[in-house]
Symmetry: C2
Subunit: 221 residues, 2 copies
DNA sequence: ACCTGAACACCGTTCAAGT
DNA sequence: ACCTGAACACCGTTCAAGT
């Protein structure tokens, strides 16, 4: 609303584009079509502009992704965490997961850049802090955080690609074919589970595994 | 060496290309330049051929990746596993990791397709089987396998991108900048660790975390 | 059967120019 | 300051044609 241009330009029409409008358009594109839908050219088209106009407001595509990351991190709620350090560790880990599950494109960015949005670092702080309070050394607490982050990132990345794949639903799934032709002698467990495999792997078991991981990590003090 | 063409062609010169030569060239490309180096056009250029010639031996790029996956899986050794089911579970999990760590491009393929090469399924069988022997239900064993797989995939994916990033080493790492400007009041743990963060996160802690995860999963019987 | 060339519909980004 | 157009160096893939 306070859309007065910041420059004291004595000439010319007001800018048509801004970081803000670009970010909003990019969010729409991501929500509608996922990471694959977001390209500089496509974004420009959506804004009735040219690819190069964007580069006036954003350094490059990576910079745009960073801005999107910060924007999302700003919107996440910040609930009170449990007192008990083990519970706090699990709750924070769950939060890390939930915050990202809502927009999984972010995980691809996070994984591909190893960067954390500053506005989400309080979750990392909470995990490391509760781990220390549980008796881990500072180094051990960082290791524990990393294990949780790897597990979370893997879960989200694989879930995203599974959903993308089943959405496209092109061929009869290489995996199902593989399972169908499994020799019961060589693979007794897998072939006896072959029929249930799809539904078994689709279940949401994140919470239980997170608890198991945390308990396992804390058992080593 | 047994390079006789399979067709009984009564005409024409022998085929210049074959799945075999294509796969070898693709492996070289991947080894030399990673996933980003592998494109159909680039591969054709490397083979002194045209992009379209490849499509005669391979359905599309995904098919080529699948062939590469199978080829790699065939080469992995198959060591004897420990008798003790917990040890076997950990050893198999470690194996899953090690087999993939050697060619991390594979993880990107695996994650993006949720497919397992048939020749590597014995590792999955070993994990699920040992989990059942440890007292988990078949469903619980699958859940345990998935937790291990998510953790492993996350670790590898993030490691690959970290290595790629530090190799390119363009800017002074957004993450380091973020850590440097952390307020000690709001982030006491993280800011006290800020200086050590790079080396702490570079350490290989896979084995310990895997053991923690397995023990945590087995503790829930 | 095996390969080529031209084409289609895309990418991210640079550079020189317009207002 | 802000935007445009043309260009560069790429993608995966289809289609029609050559031998």
């Amino acid at each position: 609303m306070h859309s007065g241009p910041k420059h004291t330009g004595r000439t010319g029409r007001p800018p048509r584009l801004s970081q803000e409008t670009i970010i909003f358009a990019a969010q729409d594109l991501l929500a509608a079509e996922g990471t694959r839908g977001l390209s500089m050219r496509r974004l420009a088209r959506e804004l009735d502009s040219t690819p190069m106009a964007l580069y006036h407001h954003v350094r490059d595509k990576d910079d745009l992704l960073l801005l999107l990351l910060e924007e999302h991190a700003r919107t996440i709620p910040r609930p009170a965490l449990p007192e008990d350090p083990r519970d706090r560790m699990i709750t924070a880990g769950q939060l890390l997961h939930d915050v990202l599950a809502g927009c999984p494109w972010i995980v691809e960015v996070l994984a591909s850049d190893d960067l954390m949005a500053k506005s989400a670092l309080w979750i990392v702080e909470a995990i490391v802090d509760s781990a220390v309070e549980c008796g881990l050394s500072p180094e051990g607490a960082v290791d524990a955080y990393r294990a949780i982050w790897y597990y979370t990132a893997g879960e989200l990345l694989i879930r995203v690609s599974r959903e993308r794949r089943t959405a496209e639903a092109s061929r009869p799934s290489h995996r199902d074919q593989t399972f169908a032709t499994l020799s019961p002698d060589a693979y007794p467990r897998l072939s006896s589970l072959a029929g249930q495999w799809p539904e078994l792997t689709r279940r949401d078991t994140h919470r239980q595994s997170l608890e198991a991981l945390v308990d396992g990590l804390l058992a080593r003090v």
